[in-house]
Symmetry: C2
Subunit: 236 residues, 2 copies
DNA sequence: CGTGAGCTTGACTTGTTTCAACCAACGTGG
DNA sequence: CCACGTTGGTTGAAACAAGTCAAGCTCACG
């Protein structure tokens, strides 16, 4: 795993196996750069529908995406946001059929790896298996955490929690050096992620702003009072 | 995987790799019955707390259990119910520290397998790796489904959904031949599983009973009108 | 016989949704 | 250059779903 190949997300902490950082680099390494292919998608475009078959395993390179499920009546639940370096889903390494839809939040660049080669590499390289199992456990932990939030916490706690989690993930990959982060999410993204209405999300965010907890302008978010936000997220 | 060893859950359909059935048998096989040990726990007992370290990987043999997370203020979210044959968590094969608490719903028998041997077997046996990845994907799908239910569906739909899912899982392992199933859950289990209050769950169940959708008495539940329940679960 | 766990019911409160109107920013085509 | 539709955000009032509080009940268990 030594010798980082040129990669699209320039992260400092390659050794950090606690997050998904550098999956792309790792994969490219394991596959010795055979047969990868790049793709682009503009913001707001749906990339795959749930149930579609993907012959290749995609990894996000640039931009944000969201995985979601849509109910018959149009209500939507976002299950996770994908940041640069994220594997779209560990399950896709083993099963070609996508369980959820994926759409681009911002303009997006992603790279797709051939599944067969990946599975082989998995048998060859115990390190890679460890990483994939880690990623998989991580995905699961995130899904369970979401269920806990949606089941047992109020609107403010959910929203604060989401923002802090995103900040933390960005920090881990060196994309948030100070208190300000890129924040391409619209209110409807947040609403669909935390299981609330756009209107209500707007109200809570306005409340946060009034309380001096955060500032949002032009696609960037500043954590003006992180301890305060954390307190709300904990909802003691 | 041929040659089913004597096992505690006597399921008919061994080939069904869509569910967790026979994990115990599979594991015992892969490990050639070395160093398994059995445990018992009475109903209502907490078995592990979240964060505890488990040196062995547990599989449910008899009875029902629940994995849950508890918030600082005492609110609880049940993340999954464990039925006979279920691996408690695929993540435990790789990481010894449990992410959630587990408690016994009924009197419980479970069996614990040594992690090291299990991991070795995983390298040796590609079949076993396939099974484990399948189980892991399944767990994740269930967690995501829970998030969707909690985030975007009403009380009745969530409860109907839970009951139907349990019925389906029991059917798969041959534990529900007709319209009636063992149902050891208390209303507070259901409440914690679907993110509602005990009172509200009681009301909805009463409503279901009045509408002739189901009957519950003495720890058994009869699906009097499954199509009706499914309609409510779909919440068209 | 008493105690605690579990279920049911009713009145009231709270959090969230729904509906609606309005405004600002932006891109597109006439 | 302006007119226009689309997308996103804000605010307020009314409707609704679910939570809280409280009481009374059964049943199992010691």
């Amino acid at each position: 795993m030594a010798g980082i190949p040129p990669t699209c997300c320039a992260c400092p902490a390659f050794q950090d196996n606690l997050c998904h950082i550098f999956t792309e680099a790792t994969f490219a390494n394991a596959l010795q750069d055979t047969a990868v292919d790049d793709h682009f998608a503009p913001a707001r475009r749906l990339i795959w529908r749930a149930g579609e078959t993907l012959e290749r395993v995609p990894v996000i390179c640039q931009g944000w995406a969201a995985t979601s499920a849509t109910l018959s009546d149009g209500r939507r639940q976002i299950l996770s946001f994908l940041l640069p370096g994220d594997l779209v889903s560990a399950a896709l390494i083993f099963e070609p059929v996508s369980q959820s839809s994926v759409d681009a939040v911002t303009d997006l660049r992603y790279r797709a790896f051939p599944r067969a080669e990946l599975k082989q590499a998995l048998g060859r390289t115990p390190d890679l298996l460890a990483i994939v199992s880690r990623i998989s456990a991580d995905e699961n932990a995130r899904a369970e955490r979401l269920a806990i939030d949606l089941g047992r916490r109020g609107a403010a706690a959910r929203i604060a929690s989401l923002i802090l989690a995103l900040a933390e993930r960005l920090r881990r990959r060196g994309m948030m050096p100070d208190k300000t982060m890129d924040f391409p999410l619209r209110q409807h993204h947040i609403a669909d992620a935390v299981g609330l209405t756009v209107v209500h999300v707007g109200n809570v965010l306005a409340e946060f702003r009034r309380a001096g907890l955060l500032e949002i302008n032009e696609r960037s978010l500043t954590l003006a009072d992180q301890p305060g936000l954390s307190r709300i997220a904990a909802e003691l």
